[in-house]
Amino acid sequence: MKVMLNHPVREVEVKGPRRVREVLKELNLLPESVLVVRGDDLVTEEELLRDEDRIEIRPVISGG
C-alpha cells in the first residue's frame, strides 16, 4: 500500500494486508502521536489495510 507521511511530505510503500497497528509499528511511530486517514475517513488501529489502499499518516503533535 502507499503510505503518505508528513514533516516532510513523502511516500513509502508497505506490504498489505496489514492492520494499522502493525503498519505504525513497522514505521516506528507511536499510535498516540499520529492519526491514520484513508480517503476522507479516519481509521482505528484495528483497521485492516489492503495492498491497494492509499493512506495518510497525519502527525498530531505540534511544537509551537
Binding site: 498516540e32 502521536s33 492519526l35 481509521v43 484495528e46 498530531v60 511544537g63 509551537g64
Partner: protein
C-alpha cells in the same frame, strides 16, 4: 472496532477513557469536554465576547469551531509573524475558515506594525526567535482583546501542551512559572484580559481527530522555527509513557491542577498578587511588573540596534 455509545463504526479509540467513538459521538465527546472545562474553570458564559487566538493550526481552528457550535460569541484574532510560506499558508487557512463561517477576524501584521517579521526582529535583539515570538504574541493577544472590548482571550492549548510545559518547568524547577499554568488566568488589573484554555481536557490527538471528521482545513505544516524544539521532545516522552500506561498525561496535569486548587486557601490569590505587582507600562500603558513592559523594551532595542547595524558610516 465499534463506537461505545451507538455501535456504529469507530473512527478513534481513546485508551485513557477506555472508549472508542464514531464520527458523531466523537464530536459530541469533544464538545462535552470543552463545556465541562468552561464550567469547571468558570471561563465565560454565552453573554461574554470571546476572542480566540488562531494560528491556522488544528487546535485553534477547532476551538473556534467548537465554541461557535456551543453557542458562544467567539471571534478570531490572527498574528501574521511574517515567516514566508508558512505564514502565507496559515493565514490563508484562517481567512478561508472565518469567511466561510462569517466569523469576524482581526489581524495584526508584524511586518507593518513592528516593521519586520519575527526572524528579523529576533536577529535585531539577538534573542531566540521563539522567545521573542512568545513575548510579541502574548502582548498583542492581550492588547487586542482589551482594546476591542472582549471579555476573554482564549487559546488552543491542549492537554499535551500543558503537560509538556509542566514537565519542562518541573525539570528545571521553574516554580515561579507554575502558578501561571492554570487553564484560567484572571483579569486581575485594568488592561489585563482574562485568559482561558478551553481545550485543556483534550489530548492533541483527539482534537486533530475532531478537525478531520468535521472537515476543518488546517495547516499540517509546522512553523519552520519549531524544528527541534524542546516541547516536541517532552511531548514525545509523555506519549511514550501514555502508550505504556494510558491516562498518564491527564494524571500528571490534572493532578497538578487539583493540588494547586487545594493550595489556594493557604496563599494569597493570583489576582491579589497581580494587583500588588502590576502597573501600567510607562510607554504603552499595558500592565507590567517593570517600569517599561517587555514588549516596549524589545521594540526599543530593535529600533536602537536596528539602524546602527545596517547604516554604514
Amino acid at each position: 472496532m465499534r463506537c461505545r455509545k451507538c455501535k456504529a463504526k469507530a473512527v478513534l479509540d481513546i485508551p485513557r477513557h477506555h472508549t472508542a467513538f464514531c464520527k458523531a459521538c466523537l464530536t459530541e465527546f469533544v464538545c462535552a469536554q470543552v463545556e465541562r472545562a468552561i464550567a469547571e474553570e468558570r471561563m465565560f458564559t454565552t453573554t461574554d465576547r470571546v476572542l480566540v487566538a488562531v494560528s491556522g493550526g488544528k487546535d485553534s481552528l477547532s476551538l473556534l469551531d467548537i465554541l461557535r457550535k456551543l453557542g458562544y460569541q467567539a471571534d478570531a484574532f490572527y498574528v501574521d509573524l511574517g515567516i514566508g510560506e508558512y505564514s502565507r499558508q496559515s493565514k490563508e487557512k484562517v481567512e478561508r475558515y472565518t469567511s466561510a463561517h462569517g466569523i469576524p477576524l482581526h489581524v495584526h501584521e508584524l511586518k507593518e506594525d513592528e516593521g519586520a517579521g519575527i526572524n528579523d526582529l529576533a536577529d535585531l535583539v539577538r534573542r531566540p526567535t521563539c522567545s521573542v515570538c512568545g513575548t510579541l504574541k502574548r502582548y498583542h493577544f492581550n492588547r487586542t482583546a482589551v482594546e476591542k472590548g472582549y471579555h476573554v482571550l482564549a487559546t488552543g492549548h491542549n492537554l499535551d501542551d500543558e503537560a509538556a510545559r509542566l514537565l519542562g518547568n518541573i525539570l528545571h524547577w521553574q516554580t515561579e512559572y507554575l502558578e501561571k499554568q492554570g487553564p484560567t488566568l484572571p483579569d486581575s488589573v485594568e488592561g489585563f484580559a482574562k485568559k482561558v484554555k478551553p481545550l485543556y481536557r483534550l489530548a492533541e490527538r483527539e482534537i486533530a481527530a475532531y478537525a478531520i471528521v468535521n472537515g476543518i482545513d488546517y495547516i499540517v505544516e509546522e512553523c519552520p522555527n519549531a524544528q527541534g524544539a524542546k516541547m516536541l521532545l517532552y511531548k514525545d516522552i509523555l506519549n511514550r509513557l501514555e502508550s505504556e500506561s494510558p491516562g498518564t498525561k491527564q494524571a500528571f496535569y490534572w493532578g497538578f491542577l487539583a493540588r494547586q486548587e487545594a493550595d489556594k486557601q493557604a496563599r494569597p490569590s493570583m489576582a491579589e498578587h497581580d494587583r500588588a505587582v502590576l502597573h501600567p507600562c510607562a510607554t504603552c500603558g499595558q500592565p507590567t511588573t517593570g517600569e517599561i513592559c517587555s514588549y516596549c523594551k524589545l521594540m526599543a532595542r530593535a529600533k536602537k540596534d536596528g539602524p546602527a547595524t545596517t547604516v554604514s558610516p
